[in-house]
C-alpha cells in the first residue's frame, strides 16, 4: 500500500522532471503527487505501535492474540 504509493510518487516526479508534458497533464500529475505525498506522510506519522502477542490456540487450532503491553524485562535473556 504505502510502498506502491511511494513508487507512484517517484514515478510522477520522474515524469514531471522529463518536462515534455502538456500543461493539463502536468497539473493532473501534480495534483496526484500532492495527494500521494500527504497520504504517505500521514501513513508514516501514525503514532501507535501495534503489537500483539500470541496467547494460545482456540479449540479449532486458530491462534488467539491479545495486545502486548510491554512489561519491564525480568531477565536479560
Amino acid at each position: 500500500m504505502f510502498e506502491s504509493k511511494l513508487k507512484r510518487l517517484e514515478e510522477i516526479v520522474k515524469k514531471m522532471e522529463q518536462g515534455d508534458l502538456e500543461l493539463d497533464e502536468s497539473l493532473k500529475l501534480f495534483e496526484e503527487g500532492v495527494k500521494l505525498t500527504k497520504e504517505c506522510q500521514s501513513h508514516l506519522s501514525q503514532a501507535e505501535q501495534k503489537v500483539k502477542i500470541l496467547t494460545g490456540l482456540d479449540e479449532n487450532g486458530n491462534p488467539v492474540t491479545v495486545p502486548f503491553s510491554e512489561s519491564p524485562a525480568k531477565s536479560a535473556d
Partner: protein, 423 residues
C-alpha cells in the same frame, strides 16, 4: 565385551603361582590369606575410596556406543590405557559425538567389578579437550547441514525492504523483545508486530521455539519473521544450535532473520536463516525502514514535484510571453497608420506646394512671353487695330468700301470712323 575381558586379563589376572607364593609368605610370616573374593573386595574398597570422583585426560579408543545407549570405550595415553563406560543417563548430556582419537577430559569414579576383578572408570561428564563439547557439537551439526545444502545462498530469500506484518519469535520478557520494539517504535511505528512467545533457553526452549515458528507459519501472511534472543553464554544460546530449531527455521515459508545474542555469537540458526542480524536490535533495523528517512525522502520528492511544476508554469509563461509579443497591438497599429498618414499627407502637401510653385514660375515666365507678344504692346508702339462693324479685324483694305463704319482701336481708347475711300 571382548576389550574388557582383555583388559581384565591384562590388569588383574592373578597368576596361580603368585597366589601360591602369597600363601607361602602368609604361612611363614603368619600373614592373612585372602580369598579371591576378599582380595577383590579389598581392592574395590581401596580403589573406590582412593578415587571417588576424579578428572582424567586421555584419548578415546575403541569407542562403542551400545544399543542399550551406554558408551563403552577405552581412554589411553602413550603409555597405558583404562577401560571406561558412560551410562545412558549421563551420556545424553554430552552434546558432541565422541569418536576414536578424540582427546577428552572425563569426570568419573573408578569402579571395580568384583566378579571379574576388573576395574574401569565410570564417566559422568565428558568434555573434549581443546575445543569445547558444544563447539564440537556445533561444528558437527554445521557440517552435516551444510552438506545437506541448508546454508546454500540460493535458498536465501530476500528480506522485504518494507515489511508491514512482522512475526517475532522470542521470549516476551527478555531484553531482546524490548530492544526490538524500541527500535521499531523509533524507526517505524506503523507496523503490525505479533510476538510468538517461547522460552529461549532451558530444556523447553527448543520445543517451544519450534512450535512458535510453526504457528507463525501456519498463520502466515507475515512479511518477515525474526527468531532470536539477547546475549548470553554459549549454553544460553544453545537452543539455536539444536537441529530441530535449525530445521524449523529452514522450513519456514516466511523470510526469516536470525537475531541471536551479540555480534560475536554465531549459531547454526544464523547460517540457515535468510539473513543473520548481529543483534535483535539490528534485526529490527534491518526489517524496518526509518520513518524519518522516508519522510525526508517524501519531502524531497515533493520538492522535486513542486519545482517541476513551477518550471513547467514558468515555461508556459515564457511561451505565452513570446506569443504575446508576436501579436500586434491594434492601437499601436492605428498609431502607426496615423503616423504614416501624416507622413504621406505631408509629402503630398509638399509635392503639391512644389508643383504650384513650379507652375507659378512657369506661368510667370509664359505670362511675360505672352505679354511681349500682346497686340496691346504693338498698339503701345503706335499701331492700331481696325475692325468692321461685325468686330472682325480688317487686315485688307479691299474688305472695306466707302461709307463702312469701322472701329479703330488705339493703345488708349477707340475711335469709330467712316470709310471715305479705299485704295
Amino acid at each position: 565385551m571382548s576389550d574388557m575381558s582383555n583388559l581384565n586379563q591384562l590388569m588383574f589376572n592373578v597368576e596361580p603361582g603368585e597366589e601360591l607364593a602369597d600363601e607361602a609368605v602368609e604361612e611363614t610370616e603368619e600373614s592373612k590369606v585372602y580369598s579371591v573374593n576378599e582380595l577383590n573386595r579389598a581392592i574395590k574398597d581401596q580403589l573406590e575410596g582412593e578415587f571417588p570422583m576424579i578428572w582424567i585426560k586421555g584419548e578415546i579408543s575403541n569407542f562403542k556406543p551400545h544399543s542399550s545407549g551406554h558408551f563403552y570405550f577405552s581412554l589411553k595415553d602413550d603409555k597405558a590405557q583404562i577401560s571406561a563406560v558412560m551410562f545412558k543417563g549421563f551420556n545424553r548430556h554430552v552434546k558432541f559425538k565422541p569418536a576414536d582419537g578424540m582427546e577428552v577430559l572425563v569426570c568419573g569414579k573408578v569402579t571395580v567389578y568384583e566378579p571379574r576383578g576388573s576395574y574401569q572408570i565410570m564417566c559422568e561428564v565428558m568434555e573434549p579437550v581443546g575445543a569445547g563439547a558444544l563447539q564440537i557439537a556445533f561444528e558437527q551439526l554445521k557440517a552435516k547441514l551444510q552438506k545437506e545444502g541448508l546454508f546454500d545462498q540460493a535458498r536465501k530469500r530476500k528480506i522485504p525492504e518494507h515489511s508491514q506484518r512482522v512475526a517475532i519469535v522470542t521470549s516476551p520478557t527478555g531484553a531482546a523483545i524490548r530492544d526490538m520494539l524500541n527500535v521499531l517504535g523509533r524507526r517505524m511505528k506503523n507496523l503490525e508486530v505479533t510476538i510468538f512467545p517461547c522460552a529461549v533457553q532451558g530444556i523447553q526452549a527448543q520445543k517451544e521455539i519450534v512450535a512458535a515458528i510453526q504457528i507463525a507459519n501456519k498463520i502466515g501472511n507475515f512479511d518477515v519473521m525474526i527468531v532470536g534472543r539477547g546475549g548470553g553464554s554459549i549454553e544460553d544460546l544453545w537452543a539455536f544450535n539444536e537441529e530441530v530449531v535449525v530445521r524449523a527455521i529452514a522450513a519456514s515459508t516466511i523470510p526469516t532473520v536470525s537475531a541471536v545474542g551479540h555480534e560475536v555469537d554465531f549459531t547454526i540458526a544464523d547460517f540457515v536463516a535468510d539473513l543473520r542480524a548481529p543483534t535483535p536490535s539490528a534485526a529490527a533495523e534491518l526489517i524496518s525502514r526509518n520513518a524519518a528517512d522516508l519522510m525526508g525522502g517524501i519531502s524531497m520528492q515533493f520538492k522535486a514535484l513542486r519545482n517541476s511544476m513551477n518550471k513547467k508554469i514558468q515555461m508556459e509563461r515564457q511561451k505565452l510571453f513570446h506569443a504575446q509579443r508576436q501579436l500586434v497591438d491594434p492601437k499601436r497599429k492605428l498609431q502607426d497608420l496615423m503616423l504614416k498618414l501624416d507622413d504621406l499627407s505631408g509629402r503630398v502637401q509638399n509635392a503639391i506646394q512644389k508643383n504650384i510653385t513650379f507652375k507659378r514660375q512657369l506661368f510667370i515666365r509664359w505670362a511675360s512671353v505672352l505679354d511681349s507678344l500682346s497686340p496691346l504692346k504693338v498698339l503701345d508702339r503706335g499701331y492700331a487695330i481696325v475692325k468692321n462693324d461685325k468686330d472682325n479685324i480688317i487686315k485688307d483694305a479691299k474688305k472695306l468700301k466707302k461709307g463702312d463704319e469701322i472701329s479703330i482701336q488705339l493703345f488708349k481708347g477707340e475711335v469709330v470712323a467712316e470709310v471715305k475711300s479705299t485704295k
